[in-house]
Structures are given as C-alpha cells and as structure tokens.
C-alpha cells in the first residue's frame, strides 16, 4: 500500500499524465463527434460507432504509461527509487499498478464521455446500453487501456528511452500489426493472434453493439477467433508476460 501511495505521488506531481489525460479526452471525443455528426442511413449511429475513436486514445494512454517510466530513467529518479526501495520487483509492480489504474480511469471517463456526446448530438439514435455487448463496448475501453498501459510500462522499462519506447509502441500498435496481414498465406493467420487485434475483439465482440450490422457499416471488427472473454484473458496474459520479462530484466540490470 505504501508503495502504491509513493507511485501515486510520483505520477501525479508531474505534468505529463494530466496532459495525456486531457489529450485522450479531446482526441476520442473529437473523433466521436466527427463520426456521429456525419452519420447517415448507410452508417447509422450505434453504441459501437460512439467508441470508434478508442484506439486513438489507446495510443495516447500508452505514451503516458511509457513516459511515466522512461522519464524516471531519463532523469535518474529510477535510481533514487531503487535506493529507497531496493526490492525492484515491488517498486515496479506498484508503479505499474498506479499507471494502470490511471489508464482505467481515463478510459472509462473518455468512453462514457464519447457515448454521452453521441447521445447529445443524435438524441433520436438508439444508444441505450441494454446488452452485455453494449456495456463491454463502452466500459471495456478502460480495461483495455489499463492492460495496454501495463504493456507500455513493460516496454518503457526494457527500452529505457522515451523516444525509443514510444515509437516502438506506436509503430507496432498503429502499423505493424495491420501490416502483418500482408504476409502471403500465413499473414492473416498470425494477425488473428496479435495482441491488439485480440484486444479489439474484446471491445467489439461479433458486432452485436453495432446493431447487428456487419463491420463494413461502422466499426471494423476483429479477426480474432476468440470469444470476447477469452480475448480479454489473452490480452491480459500478454500484458502480464511482458511485465514479467521487464521486471526480471530490471532486477538483473545495473540501475
């Protein structure tokens, strides 16, 4: 508990988390306003379309999480941290926990803000959250943000440089996963099991939150064969493995 309080003080006494939280909110609600505002018969407003923008917020949250670690390396405060708490495993776990919690809060706020904004812009659309798929589509965003933050923390610990960690995370998340599909034959098969594609499966499910319309009419669906529940477990396991590798490395390495 003490360590969580320590990491909370550290995270919230710098500016970048506040900026990143604000940017997440602006970016996601901005895109939602754009998508919802331009909706028509062919692309109607659904619960799923209100969350169309979650992946942009995801990128910003991962930047926040990576920065929270890499700035510690950049400014040497990671050494002060390990000096105060020689058990590096607990120190890094506490840090990850606090960042993940903040990512969860940012995710929930931005997801419900987007949903609320859509309700305001299109009062006649059916945006009621009346199924599990609807709820997951909105409330699940925070959970995915939290797990993605864990992945970003792990990459931050491993890479230790802000620019390196952030470009690696963003290029992977925004480009590499999609590009894998271009590999002949095996590409789409591999893509089915790539973590952010699987995470997307948890959010969108089989399109139930998109009023039963196919992916072409709204948010593209994930190609993952897993059920939403298993997709979440898979992404969580991926985050846990990344974190375990990062902590093991940090323990062995000179600070």
């Amino acid at each position: 508990m003490t360590l969580l309080a320590v990491e909370r003080i550290k995270l919230l006494t710098t500016r970048s988390p506040w900026w990143c939280a604000l940017i997440t909110l602006v970016v996601t609600s901005g895109f939602t306003a754009l998508v919802v505002g331009t909706a028509n018969e062919e692309f109607p407003v659904t619960v799923a379309t209100t969350q169309f923008s979650y992946s942009f917020g995801l990128a910003v949250v991962m930047v926040l999480a990576a920065l929270a670690v890499t700035t510690e390396y950049r400014f040497g405060t990671i050494r002060t941290t390990f000096q105060a708490v020689p058990n590096r495993g607990s120190a890094l776990l506490a840090k990850t926990g606090v960042i993940a919690a903040l990512a969860l809060v940012i995710g929930e706020i931005s997801a419900f803000a987007c949903w609320g904004l859509a309700n305001l812009l299109q009062p006649t659309a059916d945006l009621a959250l009346n199924s599990a798929a609807d709820w997951i589509n909105v409330a699940g965003v925070g959970v995915i943000y939290a797990l993605a933050a864990v992945v970003a923390v792990a990459v931050g610990v491993l890479v230790r440089h802000s620019a390196g960690a952030i470009s690696l995370l963003l290029i992977y998340n925004l480009a590499i996963e999609q590009l894998v599909q271009l590999i002949p034959n095996a590409g789409p098969k591999i893509y089915e099991w790539l973590p952010f594609n699987v995470a997307h499966k948890f959010i969108t499910g089989d399109g139930a939150a998109n009023a039963g319309r196919p992916g072409e009419a709204g948010v593209p669906l994930s190609t993952s064969p897993l059920s939403p529940g298993w997709a979440l477990a898979y992404f969580a396991a991926f985050a846990a493995v990344m974190l375990a590798i990062a902590i093991t490395t940090a323990k062995k390495r000179d600070a």
Binding site: T2, L3, A5, V6, I9, K10, T13, T14, R15, S16, T71, E72, F75, G76, T77, R79, T80, T81, F82, Q83, A84, V85, P86, N87, K252, D254, A255
Partner: protein, 312 residues
C-alpha cells in the same frame, strides 16, 4: 560503517573497480579520492545496491544494502543532484521519498529547512541552480536521519560560499557520530574536509589512512640550499646519500631534512646563505602518487599537442 571486500566491477573489457577493499568508520569524514574515471561513482553505486558487483561485496553495518529495512533511514546518499524530475517540486520530490520509507512528513520540512530551501519548496526543481539542486540532494540524503551518508563530488560546480557550507556541514554530520563518505578528485578539497582518506586510481586501492599522513607522504619534501661554497657542499651531501639537483642559484636537495643538511655544512665549514624546506603543492603530489593511474592524462597531452600542431 561501510566495509568493502574485494569489490570488483567489470564493464565489458574495462575493469572499472579492481579488487577494492576499504573501511569507512563512524564519527569522521572519510574522503574518497581519485582522479576522474578512477571508479569512485561506480563504487558508490555498488554500495547503494544500484550496480551489481562482478566480484566481492560491500556491506553497511554488516548488511548488504538490499537487506536493509527502509534503507533511507540508514543510508542517505547524494550521487547526482540532477536525479530529480524537473517538473516536480522540491517538496513533492522529498514527499515521495519520505513516504516510501515511512518517514514522517514533518521531516520533509525539517530537511528543507536545514538546507535553506524552505522558501522555494513548492517551486519546480528543474528551475533550480546547481547550488540549489545540490542542497535539495543533501536534503534528500538527510531525510531519513541516516547513520551513514554518501556524497559523490558534492562541491562540483559550486561557488566558494557553497563549498564552504557543504564542507562545514559534512564535518558537523561527522561530529554527530555519523559515517560520512565523500568523494572528490581534488586532494586540496579533501585535505580541508576529510580526516581519513581512501585513495584509488584506475579502480585499485592506492592507500587508506589519515589525511595528514597521506599529505606528508605525498609532498615529497625537498630543501633548497644556497651557498658560495657549493662545490664543497655538493659531494658531502651526495656521500650522505642525498639526491642533489642544481637550481638557478643553489641546490635542491631531497632525501635529507634541513637539520641534517645544516649539520653537514657545519662539519664541512661551509657558509650557508639559505636553507629552506620546500613543500610541493598538494595537487602536484597527488598527481605524482596517482601518476601512473591517471587514465586520461596521456591522451589529453597527445590531444593538446595535436591541437597545437594543427593550429600552426
């Protein structure tokens, strides 16, 4: 009490610290002296458990750093004053440190007061001058009221007033019975601050002992002799196994003290115009002792020569 035994650190092919053993005892300021790149900071990081030794070990009061419970209450350290997030305030920086080791929050204000940073406690640390950063670093070292204090080059870049303040401060901490271990590459600074010295060069221990002994040993004393009868005096001194070198207007004698030279002159009925002991500067002496341990020395000279040649 800090105890290092056979401490060794290897980075790839370079041996940064080589089989280093020393003790630092409470109640005095112990200087950790060596030229830049001698392995002082690496050693200090190993004391704090930040770097893992390749061989050997170092303990604080018989325990390894990683075994200490709430280590900030036992060991306070200032390794680099810049190890602060620039957007975090001085108070916030000390607050998280205090929290991590269950140190009461009033200690934060006390520590800020001791180093005179109370008025800027809520300002962002990134805007601090070097002197203020050093003071914040000292405040964080003092936060847990520790028995053992480590300072790595604390006076680097400070103005004379700041240097004097830190020097007195460290001496006061030692008077309170604490173990104070402070590194520097300047012997003159250490001669004023420390009563004990651990001297290293190229990662190896050169000597450990009192500062006075080291200075006496270091400043190879010579005696200047002027006399109208040097021709008579010179062989007499040489036969007394002194090393005699000619200076502009007399002789420089080493290996004999002035009393002995006076006696020899008396026996030879030589008139003396001057008989004065010469003390070399501390820095010269330090260079002499660590001479073959200074890593960059030759490189710098070669570079300077190259620079001179190219300017012609």
């Amino acid at each position: 009490m800090i105890e290092a035994k056979g401490l060794t650190k290897r980075y790839g092919k370079t041996l940064a610290v080589d089989d280093l053993s020393f003790n630092v005892t409470p109640g005095k300021v112990t200087g950790f002296l060596g030229p830049n790149g001698a392995g002082k900071s690496t050693t200090m990081r190993m004391v704090l458990g930040l770097d893992n030794p390749t061989g050997g070990q170092v303990s604080i009061g018989g325990k390894r750093y990683n075994e200490l419970h709430h280590p900030l209450r036992t060991v306070g350290a200032l390794l680099d004053a810049k190890w602060v997030h620039p957007n975090r305030s001085a108070r916030a920086h000390l607050s998280w440190m205090a929290k991590s080791n269950k140190i009461p929050m009033r200690r934060v204000d006390e520590a800020l007061d001791v180093v005179g940073l109370t008025s800027v406690a809520n300002k962002r640390a990134g805007g601090f001058s070097l002197g203020m950063s050093q003071r914040l670093g000292i405040a964080s070292a003092l936060l847990g009221d520790p028995e053992v204090l480590l300072f790595d080059e604390p006076v680097n870049g400070l103005d004379p007033e700041g240097i004097l303040w830190i020097r007195r401060f460290m001496q006061r901490l030692a008077e309170e019975g604490r173990t104070v271990f402070v590194s520097s590459h300047l012997l003159s600074e250490m001669a004023l601050t420390a009563t004990e010295l651990v001297v290293i060069g190229r990662g190896k221990l050169i000597s450990q002992g009192s500062t006075d002994d080291f200075v006496a040993k270091a400043t190879d004393s010579t005696v200047k002799v002027r006399s109208p009868q040097l021709d008579k005096l010179r062989p007499a001194l040489s036969s007394a196994s002194a090393v005699v070198t000619d200076a502009e207007d007399g002789l420089i004698v080493s290996g004999l003290d002035s009393a002995k030279i006076g006696e020899i002159a008396m026996q030879q009925s030589v008139v003396l115009h001057e008989l004065s002991p010469q003390r070399g500067s501390l820095e010269e002496a330090f260079m002499q002792i660590t001479g073959d341990s200074v890593q960059y020395h030759a490189d710098i000279e070669a570079e300077a020569r190259k620079a001179l040649e190219s300017s012609h």
